[in-house]
């Protein structure tokens, strides 16, 4: 009886204190972060833009999202259908072709994304020689003068506008910005995450074990970080075909170093804390001590650094693209857009678009980073 009683008591004890999702210290940080309105809004704006750009194929594409042809529902955005289906001869259907469009219209319907261009779609119906101005700067007659039926052509719709004009290869700038934003942010995120993993573990090892490991690694890092990265990338780019992953790999070789200093310092400081000694006295193995007791301390410093490293990675990628040593030709990239702007000074929409998309993206990230840094500052009071 008493056993049952004590059991129910334990049960009651357990139920009464459900563990909150965030520890109190993290709740405080989240409150602090929210208190910084600029950073908080920047986070939301950035998240919305980023999530939208992840679905770039559904926003700007030269294929319909959905189509119905002869009673069959097709998803051209995900599946490549051969043109034979619609009476053509290409291996992959060109849905922008007026013949195919009429064929599908006659036997069903198509649902286009809001922008009917992908980043590599060449608009062959621009009203004047590329680069063409944004469509809203032309009258309707001029805008549609290259279509077969002029203003009455079914393709003369708002979906075929070039909202931000075209570049010098007649590709839609808006589509390229959307895809370019995605590739920049993804590149930055992957690079930052990978450098954080390598940098944090290397810094942790050095800080925790100290002694010879620390000494040797520190000297190695000193030599390693004195290599001029940009030149090295230029040299390697001349040998290896540049691509997303190769660029990422090369830059990863150098960017992890940024984390080592702070993490090492945190580990050096914290390894003599009494609770670490206490864990050691309990017989906790080194690996567990590092993960459970020391890493959370070092994470504050790392998280503070993260947004700035992210920004740095994006800027480096952009500058490489600007110089022409970055992503392979034809890839959507903000650096390449800037280069076009520089080459076509008489087409200001190129330079202006490149400038604004890049500066807005970087500013948002910096604002977020600033708010994160303040949120993790234990002495900061928001009043």
């Amino acid at each position: 009886m008493s056993d049952v009683q004590s059991k129910t008591q334990v049960e009651r004890v357990r139920r009464r204190v459900a563990r909150p999702w965030l520890s109190p210290i993290n709740q405080r940080r989240w409150q602090n972060f929210k208190a910084n309105r600029r950073g908080y809004w920047s986070l939301w704006i950035f998240l919305v833009l980023f999530v939208l750009s992840l679905f770039a194929e559904f926003i700007a594409n030269d294929k319909p999202i959905l189509a119905s042809y002869k009673g069959e529902i097709l998803v051209p955005v995900l599946v490549d259908y051969p043109e034979e289906m619609f009476g053509g001869f290409l291996a992959v259907t060109d849905y922008r072709d007026p013949f195919i469009q009429e064929e599908i219209k006659a036997n069903g319907w198509m649902l286009w994304p809001p922008v009917r261009y992908s980043y590599r779609t060449v608009n062959s119906e621009i009203p004047e020689a590329a680069p063409a101005k944004p469509s809203w700067l032309y009258t309707e007659e001029v805008r549609c003068q290259r279509y077969d039926l002029g203003v009455d052509d079914p393709r003369c719709t708002i979906g075929n506008w070039n909202w931000l004009g075209t570049d010098d290869q007649a590709r839609d700038v808006l589509a390229r910005v959307i895809y370019g934003f995605r590739i920049s942010v993804l590149f930055g995120l992957i690079l930052t995450a990978a450098s954080a993993v390598i940098g944090v573990s290397s810094g942790a090892m050095q800080g925790y074990f100290g002694g010879w490991i620390d000494l040797l690694f520190q000297r190695f890092i000193e030599i390693w970080s004195s290599i001029p990265v940009l030149y090295l990338i230029l040299i390697i780019a001349a040998v290896l075909p540049p691509g997303f992953w190769i660029l990422l790999g090369i830059m990863l070789l150098f960017s992890w170093v940024a984390f080592v200093g702070v993490v090492r310092a945190e580990f050096l400081r914290a390894r003599n804390f009494e609770y670490v000694s206490a864990a050691r006295a309990l017989g906790v193995p080194n690996r567990t001590i590092m993960f459970r007791h020391l890493l959370p301390n070092a994470m504050v410093a790392t998280l503070t650094f993260l947004p700035f490293i992210l920004n740095g990675s994006i800027t480096t990628l952009t500058s490489l693209d600007f110089l022409g040593f970055g992503l392979p030709p034809g890839s959507p990239s903000l650096g390449e857009l800037l280069r076009q702007g520089q080459r076509n000074l008489d087409s200001p929409w190129l330079g202006i678009t490149g400038f604004f998309s890049l500066s807005i993206m970087l500013s948002l990230l910096i604002f977020i980073g600033e708010a994160v840094r303040d949120a993790f500052d234990p002495r900061k009071t928001f009043k």
């Binding site: 109190p24 009494e274 206490a278 864990a279 309990l282 906790v284 009043k383």
Partner: protein, 542 residues
């Protein structure tokens, strides 16, 4: 006392915490007369330091604010004064010495520069004048051979000397009021007695007033003319020292007076089973010099010490800081490398590697001094206590582990529902209980207690000592109790060894040591601890 020097009226201090305001000091009033020493006594968190800091407006404004009150000094209200006026008063008419002599001095400046700076700033003295006055001050505060110390940096001085330098800085401008915020808490008992005597002498000679903040009633009785007892931000009782001590009115004062760890040492049973035994333990730290880092000499942290800790008994290790007490304890529990034979339950353990020691760890546990530092701030209490179980009792299910945590929390006198909370939500005494629970959950046979009560308030100390005694009785534990506080040691230890500079000065049963000490050093320690009496130089460190 017709016209008080400093008069605090209805002072309140509030701190902003996010959206809420927390009242740290609640309408406190007291006066300090000319040439009088007033002590503010209370436990940590009672608001005594905050009260003192607000006299010079040294609180972190704007997070701190004063909802009410006046601080009248010479007819002026310091709270209403502007920054320029305060600067004239600070360091000139009212000065302050702090608890931590280690961090209150700038490590990059010499003693001469630090004291001279104040003289030049407030008095407009020239280099030569300032140097002369500095020398005079150092002499006054009892620094030996002050000429040689002028060029010393703070790290070259001992803790007591540093506190003397701090006092010299505070005295430089012949202040009317000296605020001393726990000036001796961080010092050894022997040094504490010397510093207190120095402060008393200087007050007499310079006709200063003193506001003395402390948690130690022994010190209050020694130095103060009047006492204000604070708790929860309020002064609950005030009056002349003798009156308060002989006839306390308020329940809290009585509680404080009753809280000192008391009791005669328990009898030693020399026949009990030996749990851990060390023979000729040596811990020498090499001093390396030159390009090839050759070892030229050693710092002898522990130099040939024999110890035996018996089941169900406590061995007290006492000595001043730097005497090697903690090093000895760490060597015995094999946390640091040492020479000499160590036997645990009869088996030799001194040759085992750190990894080989791991299976034995749950039998030998450590409780550290600082309950704020020894608990990981990012783990809940349950996680902290379970950590050892996860390693040594892998077969346990989560349910069983949880049950053991609940049991051990009850055993150390904490509410088991608190186990999902984080350490920062607990007071110092509760945290120390958690640290003890973490050690006890593994059912050890030997526990090393490294100054487990030093960071705690007096009344909490007694509770923790009672808890430790209780646990020892119930589980037959062997304690190695390291402390500089002889009062606590007397309450707990069966046997005592007195250490100095890595060597054992005196060893014996607690009875012998406390009632018939043989060496001068032990006698000096006991005098300093129980009577707060300074011993003429030479016997103890300065």
């Amino acid at each position: 006392m017709s016209d008080p020097l400093l008069s605090i009226r209805d002072l309140s201090v509030a701190f902003a915490q996010g959206e809420e305001e927390m009242l740290a000091v609640d309408r406190v009033s007291f006066d300090i007369g000319r040439g009088e020493t007033v002590a503010l006594v209370g436990e940590s968190g009672s608001g005594k330091s905050v009260t003192a800091l607000s006299v010079l407006k040294l609180l972190p404004y704007p997070a701190a604010s004063h909802p009410s009150g006046q601080i009248l000094y010479g007819g002026r209200d310091l709270l209403a004064g502007d920054e320029a006026e305060l600067r004239r008063v600070r360091g000139n008419e009212i000065t302050m010495i702090f608890q931590e002599p280690m961090t209150s001095l700038n490590p990059l400046h010499t003693i001469e520069k630090q004291i001279g700076e104040i003289l030049k700033l407030h008095r407009g003295m020239g280099d030569k004048q300032a140097a002369e006055r500095t020398l005079e001050l150092l002499h006054q505060v009892g620094i030996q051979e002050p000429e040689k110390r002028l060029d010393a940096f703070p790290h070259q001085l001992s803790g007591g000397q540093r506190q003397r330098v701090m006092i010299a800085m505070a005295l430089a401008n012949e202040p009317d009021l000296l605020i001393a915020d726990e000036p001796t808490t961080a010092l050894d008992v022997t040094v504490q007695a010397q510093i207190l005597e120095l402060l008393a002498r200087l007050r007499r000679d310079n006709d200063m007033s003193m506001l003395f903040i402390t948690h130690d009633l022994g010190i209050v009785r020694k130095v103060a003319d009047r006492v204000c007892v604070m708790t929860g931000g309020k002064i609950v009782e005030s009056g002349p020292t003798e009156e308060i001590f002989s006839n306390p009115q308020h329940a809290y004062t009585r509680h404080l007076l009753a809280a000192e760890p008391k009791g005669e040492p328990p009898q030693a049973d020399l026949g009990a089973e030996k749990v851990i035994q060390g023979d000729g333990i040596k811990v020498w730290f090499p001093i390396k010099k030159g390009l090839l880092r050759r070892t030229v000499d050693y710092v002898k942290g522990v130099d040939g010490v024999d110890v035996t800790v018996r089941a169900g008994q406590t061995l007290g290790v006492v000595g001043e800081s730097g005497s090697g007490k903690t090093t000895l304890g760490l060597a015995l529990s094999r946390m640091i490398a040492s020479d000499g034979e160590i036997r645990f339950s009869g088996a030799r353990i001194d040759e085992r590697s750190f990894r080989q020691m791991r299976p034995l760890r749950h039998k030998m546990q450590i409780v550290f001094q600082d309950p704020f530092g020894s608990l990981s701030p990012r783990m809940s209490v349950a996680e902290i206590i379970q950590e050892g179980l996860r390693i040594h009792e892998r077969q346990l299910s989560a349910e069983e582990r949880d049950r053991m945590v609940v049991e051990v929390l009850q055993e150390v006198g904490l509410d088991p529902t608190a186990r999902f909370r984080y350490p920062h939500e607990f007071s110092g005494g509760q945290r120390q209980r958690i640290a003890i629970a973490r050690a006890m959950v593994l059912r050890p046979s030997f526990v090393m207690l490294d100054e487990p009560t030093s960071a705690l308030d007096m009344s909490v100390q007694a509770q923790v000592v009672d808890l430790l005694r209780d646990l020892q009785k119930r589980h037959g534990l062997a304690y190695l109790f390291i402390s500089h506080d002889l009062k606590v040691v007397r309450a707990l230890a069966n046997e005592v060894i007195v250490m100095r500079a890595g060597k054992v000065v005196e060893a014996g049963t607690a009875d012998q040591i406390f009632h018939a000490p043989k060496t001068d050093y032990t006698k000096a320690l006991i005098a300093a601890a129980f009577e707060i009496a300074a011993v003429p130089g030479g016997v103890v460190s300065e």
